[in-house]
């Protein structure tokens, strides 16, 4: 047995080998968003910067290791509301570097590089490493994304849940809970497959098209809509829907003139608790679509083919799968006779 372990040790340095071992072999070294990180044992305490990282750790049953959370977009998933209530929220938005360090974590798990990365608003990864605090950034934010261009970064290749699964698997390995990680990925994969099968059974029109409207900076100005390579782009591709927006930016600003003239069959609007812009409110979005002299003439508006979706499901997180499910469910209730 001991010999076998010695054989497995070098293998465990290669991330691919996670599927083989059920116990993590420390020291564990892996490359995360271009930075080599290593662990001599499972971290005792972790601070999260980003809701997605927080929810993945909760899903892995690691809530007792979470010392503090930050960067919240929406209420926590309902199944974790009780757990979350007992954990200190360092900040709703960006926490300060000292607030994070002060919790004495061994690991900082971040959702976005713009918080913890080369120009991180909280700190660079080196700043944490100098204090002996390891960092982990969700691969969904860097594997296929260049965060140095475009306001919210630009995708260099299409987002796929594989990057979320990779994050889950790697975090599970870091914390030595690989069984839980595998179970979570298996569950998400099954839900993904079910949603796709559901959409396929609907025999939707071949050239079905859609636009995902996130929000707008002011009432009637050009909105933020989903580019083709982000999480909404993935949902549309899997369900056989064309995105009328061709930008590679994550959330490009596109004029209503362009959107209306491309006249998508389907408009997906984001539901969120944030109230910074009037259009954050889903009622405002609906009101605009039905009252604006141009958008009210759009096919999707006339036919009532407007779908509401949780805003966080439109970001590159495990909630993407929930968004895919809700979109597939919504499609079963709509008709696309043209």
């Amino acid at each position: 047995m001991k010999i076998a372990r010695h054989f497995l040790l070098p293998l465990s340095l290669i991330p691919v080998s996670f599927s083989m071992a059920s116990d993590t072999e420390y020291p564990l070294t892996l490359t995360n968003c271009g930075t080599e990180i290593s662990f001599s044992s499972a971290p005792e305490g972790v601070v999260t910067v980003g809701q997605s990282a927080t929810e993945i750790l909760y899903s892995l049953g690691l809530s007792d290791r979470v010392l503090g959370t930050s960067v919240w977009f929406n209420p926590v998933l309902p199944e974790f509301s009780e757990v979350n209530a007992g954990i200190e929220r360092l900040a709703d938005n960006d926490p300060s570097f000292e607030a994070v360090v002060n919790r004495r974590p061994q690991l900082v798990a971040a959702q976005y590089e713009w918080h913890v990365g080369p120009t991180g608003s909280v700190a660079s990864r080196e700043q944490f490493h100098e204090l002996g605090i390891a960092t982990y950034v969700m691969p969904a934010d860097c594997d296929t994304k260049d965060n140095s261009t475009g306001g919210d970064g630009t995708r260099t290749a299409a987002f796929s849940p594989a990057h979320v699964y990779k994050g889950i698997t790697e975090l599970a390995a870091i914390f030595d809970v690989q069984e839980a990680g595998r179970a979570l990925v298996t569950e998400l994969e099954a839900r993904e497959a079910d949603a796709i099968a559901k959409a396929e059974s609907l025999e939707l029109p071949q050239d079905l098209s859609a636009v995902f409207w996130f929000s707008s900076p002011d009432s009637s100005v050009d909105p933020y809509v989903a580019g083709r390579l982000g999480s909404p782009g993935y949902m549309m591709e899997k369900l056989g829907i064309q995105n009328v927006i061709q930008s590679d930016e994550e959330w490009p600003i596109v004029g209503w003139e362009s959107i209306a003239r491309s006249d998508p069959d389907l408009i997906v609007i984001a539901r969120m608790d944030r109230r910074r812009f009037p259009a954050d409110d889903i009622e405002e979005k609906l009101n605009f679509l039905h009252s604006d002299p141009v958008t009210r003439e759009m096919t999707a508006v006339k036919n009532g083919n407007i779908i509401e979706m949780d805003a966080h499901a439109m970001s590159a997180t495990m909630r993407t799968i929930f968004g895919l499910e809700s979109l597939a469910d919504a499609l079963t209730t709509l008709s696309f006779e043209r």
Binding site: D218, D222, E257, A260, R275, P278, D292, M298
Partner: protein, 355 residues
């Protein structure tokens, strides 16, 4: 200003060409309606206008019709109003303060508007119920009031408001007020913005006409026309101010009252425009200078010429902002600066040579 006032510059202007003004404006508005983010055939555009203006009954796609009438035409008209309003503000402030660098944002208006806008959108003041425009207008008003109070205090502090000192006090108060409000804006952004919000607000601050609809025109058109009428009413006083407030006073002009009225009206016009489309730079600075070279210093000509040139220039800049990058709309402030700066340079150089 001093130089321009002292030297008689060649005048291209002749009264018999005056019909060109409405014709140019009309053509500019038509161009603004015909050219946009997406290509719509000219025939469709003419049909929509015929339907709307003469009750003709051409069959057109309802989305196209809505875009042409409700998006593009209203946008072109409001661009014209903003261009005219900003250019007039520039004319007035440059004349009153005898400072060639004076522009509509001198009185802290754009800085205040930015603060108001970020207070609403980033700090969450009003919790989504207050629009960005309203926040910007309130911020502009607040900043302007503060600058005026400061200028008055400083003006009286330098010995009973001698006119030249008063003008200096206004400029310095404007700079101080702008700095204060810029700092407040930076504070709010640093305290609570994330990258996405900061980008949205920056885009807006550089000027954005995409949200313009007819109800904006019902606010912008009276503001621009009102500003124009007030300027024309005081055209002789403005001529007198060009030679200094003391000369104006010796010509029987109530210097303090006229200056207060003109500055307040122009601030109101500017704040109205900024609250609708953001702080579009360069128009108010460049257009008055350009027009002085073309039609001379007499405000009887300078005022209408600047209003027209500002209107046409901003419509043109808006067209460029929509077509220069396919599938994307640039902030119009970027275009006005990119086009305005070299154009200004050419005018300056040619003007100097002619002297």
């Amino acid at each position: 200003m001093k130089l321009a006032a002292a030297v008689q510059l060649p005048m291209v202007f002749r009264w018999r060409w005056v019909w060109l003004a409405p014709a140019t404006l009309f053509l500019a508005v038509m161009a603004g309606t015909a050219i946009g983010e997406t290509a719509i055939p000219l025939e469709t555009i003419l049909k929509v206008l015929a339907n709307r203006l003469w009750g003709a009954d051409h069959a057109v796609d309802r989305i196209d019709a809505g875009i042409i009438w409700n998006y593009r035409l209203s946008r072109a008209i409001l661009a014209a109003c903003c261009g005219a309003g900003l250019a007039l503000s520039g004319v007035v402030l440059q004349a009153l303060l005898r400072n060639p660098l004076a522009d509509p944002f001198l009185m802290g208006i754009s800085a205040g508007a930015s603060t108001g806008a970020v207070a609403v959108t980033i700090a969450g003041l009003g919790a989504g119920a207050v629009t960005l425009s309203l926040g910007a207008f309130a911020g502009a008003g607040l900043a302007f009031s503060l600058v005026v109070l400061l200028a008055r205090a400083a003006g009286s502090g330098t010995g009973g408001g001698r006119s030249a000192q008063a003008a200096g006090a206004i400029i310095l108060a404007g700079i101080a007020g702008s700095q204060l409000f810029n700092a407040l804006t930076a504070f709010i952004i640093a305290k609570s913005a994330n990258a996405e919000q900061a980008r949205g607000i920056m885009f807006w601050l550089m000027g954005n006409l995409s949200g313009v609809r007819w109800d904006d025109v019902t606010l912008g058109l009276p503001a621009a026309l009102g500003g124009l009428l007030v300027c024309l009413w005081y055209r002789r006083a403005l001529d007198a101010f060009t030679f200094g407030a003391d000369s104006a006073a010796s010509m029987g002009i109530a210097v303090r009252r006229v200056r207060a009225i003109l500055i307040a009206v122009m601030a109101l016009v500017t704040a109205t425009m900024v609250s609708m489309v953001g702080a579009i730079g360069f128009v108010g600075l460049v257009i008055p200078h350009a027009m002085r070279f073309l039609v001379g210093n007499r405000h009887t000509r300078l005022i209408p010429a600047s209003a027209l040139a500002g209107a046409v220039f901003l419509i043109g800049a808006d067209i460029i902002s929509r077509v220069i990058v396919p599938g994307q709309v640039l902030p119009i402030g970027v275009v006005t600066a990119l086009v305005g700066a070299p154009a200004f340079a050419v005018i300056l150089i040619r003007g100097t040579r002619r002297r």
